[in-house]
């Protein structure tokens, strides 16, 4: 038990120290060089605003996070479904995949104003739509790679057991694809927050986090803008961690993961 705690401390100690030193030097540099607030507020200033505005920031964060989560859920589940179809019917896959890869290289965020037009500025679905499109391609590409890069002999074994396509997917391709799927989901979790916030920059209800940050900057309330960014970062990191935790639960069997973590 104590060994586990000490190992934790060894694992977490150095990054926490770096974090603390980073904040401290930020504070000191701003004071020492008398940096203007509109350029970079002091961490203590941001912390105070965070505290003073905690209620509205919290609600704004939740509102935006819901949009991100909705988009993530829609985009990822569509991507999983499509990757299964592509993997099961290869001709489909070969016909559509180049477009998926090309689309993945497109700065999809540029469509944000269009989505606002389509679904309405104040409708959270306009932000979910942009987040969903952002999530779709990385999940599709990773999951499909996982489904199709299975050891061919593992498939041959299933064939020798006279297993049908459904069994082979359920028992081999899908489990084998999980590490790839989670690689895609982790990227998607980050992209979904970006999608929701940037979508809000192009307009949304004043209760939204992106709008809060935008307005605060416009009215020179920079510590509030920075506090909004901190909230956005916190939600983004928490979301990513939740996906990483789910990955840990479902792919603890993956030897490559274990080797990487030295467990």
């Amino acid at each position: 038990m104590t060994v586990a705690i000490r190992r934790r401390a060894i694992d977490w100690g150095p990054p926490l120290l770096v974090f603390a030193l980073g904040i401290l030097s930020w504070q000191l540099l701003v004071v020492a060089f008398n940096v203007q607030e509109f350029l970079l507020p002091k961490p203590t200033e941001i912390a105070r605003t965070l505290w003073d505005e905690r209620s509205s920031l919290w609600h704004a964060g939740i509102y935006t996070f819901k949009e991100a989560l909705g988009g993530f859920a829609i985009g990822s589940s569509l991507a999983i479904a499509v990757s299964l179809v592509f993997a099961a019917f290869r001709p489909f896959g070969t016909a559509f995949m180049p477009f998926a890869v090309a689309a993945n290289a497109v700065p999809i965020i540029a469509f944000a104003p269009i989505m606002n037009n389509w679904f309405g500025l104040l409708n959270p679905f306009s932000k979910m739509a942009i987040a969903a499109v952002l999530c779709f391609f990385p999940v599709l590409i990773n999951m499909l790679r996982g489904l199709t890069s299975v050891d061919p002999r593992a498939i041959e074994l299933m064939r020798s057991y006279a297993a049908g396509q459904t069994s082979t997917f359920r028992r081999v391709r899908i489990p084998a694809s999980l590490p790839h799927l989670f690689a895609g989901l982790k990227i998607a979790s980050v992209l979904s927050m970006i999608g929701a916030i940037v979508g809000e920059y192009f307009g949304g209800p004043i209760t939204a986090l992106g709008v809060t940050i935008l307005n605060a900057s416009a009215y020179t309330n920079f510590s509030l803008a920075w506090a909004g960014i901190v909230v956005a970062s916190a939600f983004g990191i928490l979301f990513y961690s939740a996906v990483a935790f789910a990955e840990r639960l479902t792919t603890s069997w993956d030897p490559s993961r274990r080797a990487f973590h030295g467990e």
Partner: protein, 266 residues
């Protein structure tokens, strides 16, 4: 009924798209409960022949019958257990669940599965490892799991493609012994592909010597060493005579025999 060959190969050839002829005019009957080895240099098509027997690929010409049925029907009837050079275990399944996989596909009940998995674990001497993950085991142990999985549903024919080729010499010799014990206990027919002359002679009732480009059967060697074969078998003069015989047949056809193939037997 036992007059019928376990495997009957008639006029089998295999051409690949690139114009390569992997196999040409293969005729071979494998008797029931025989342990027959296919040996030859790389490119002689021995693995291709094994895959054709197992209905993993189709021959370009000729037919393969297993237990009097076309190979495709035999596959659907679960007549084959296959073991590759790598164990190809499923990392997300424990050792016992790997062994149980074919049984799940055959819709065995949970109790029957558990019972059989325990029998198999005893057979390959891996009791106590049932809940381990495959990658926690050594290469030799993984290969024993693969053998247990292949035998779990009592296939009449076991196809083994260089199953011990990636293992060190000591482990290989021990597993050779274990394979003979398992073979005698299970009464199945085994077709065994190998690179090693010593291994082929030690295990087999007959050795099929193949030559490359195109893959053909160069010779059939009857191994008249009595079973059960033991560590002493490897020291008998007759064993060396047979090893030398196989080696000469491998070299005799002007086939390009790799040096490793010759060293293996010493």
């Amino acid at each position: 009924m036992n007059d019928r060959p376990a495997v009957s190969i008639q006029g089998v050839s295999k051409h690949f798209k690139a114009g390569v002829t992997a196999l040409s005019g293969i005729d071979l009957d494998v008797r029931p409960q025989e342990l027959i080895s296919l040996i030859g240099p790389s490119g002689c098509g021995k693995s291709t022949l094994l895959r054709i027997i197992g209905d993993l690929i189709d021959p370009s010409e000729g037919v393969v019958e297993v237990n009097g049925k076309p190979a495709s029907q035999a596959r659907r009837d679960h007549d084959y257990g296959i073991v590759f050079q790598e164990a190809v275990l499923y990392d997300w399944r424990t050792v016992s669940k790997n062994i149980a996989l074919p049984l799940e596909l055959l819709r065995w009940s949970r109790e029957k599965r558990t019972q059989r998995v325990n029998e198999m674990l005893r057979l390959v001497e891996l009791e106590g490892f049932e809940d381990r993950r495959p990658w926690e085991l050594s290469g030799g142990m993984q290969q024993r799991v693969a053998i247990a999985r292949a035998l779990s549903f009592d296939p009449s024919l076991l196809l083994m493609d260089e199953p011990f080729g990636a293992l060190d010499e000591m482990t290989r010799e021990r597993l050779n012994m274990e394979l003979l014990r398992i073979w005698e206990a299970s009464g199945s027919t085994i077709v065994f592909v190998t690179h090693s002359i010593a291994e082929a002679v030690f295990l087999s009732t007959r050795v099929v010597v193949m030559s490359p480009r195109p893959g053909q059967i160069a010779d059939l060697v009857d191994v008249d060493l009595p079973y059960p074969r033991t560590a002493e078998t490897r020291e008998e003069p007759r064993f060396f005579e047979l090893v030398t015989g196989v080696r000469e047949r491998l070299a005799g056809r002007g086939a390009q025999v790799e040096p490793e193939l010759l060293e293996d037997a010493t």
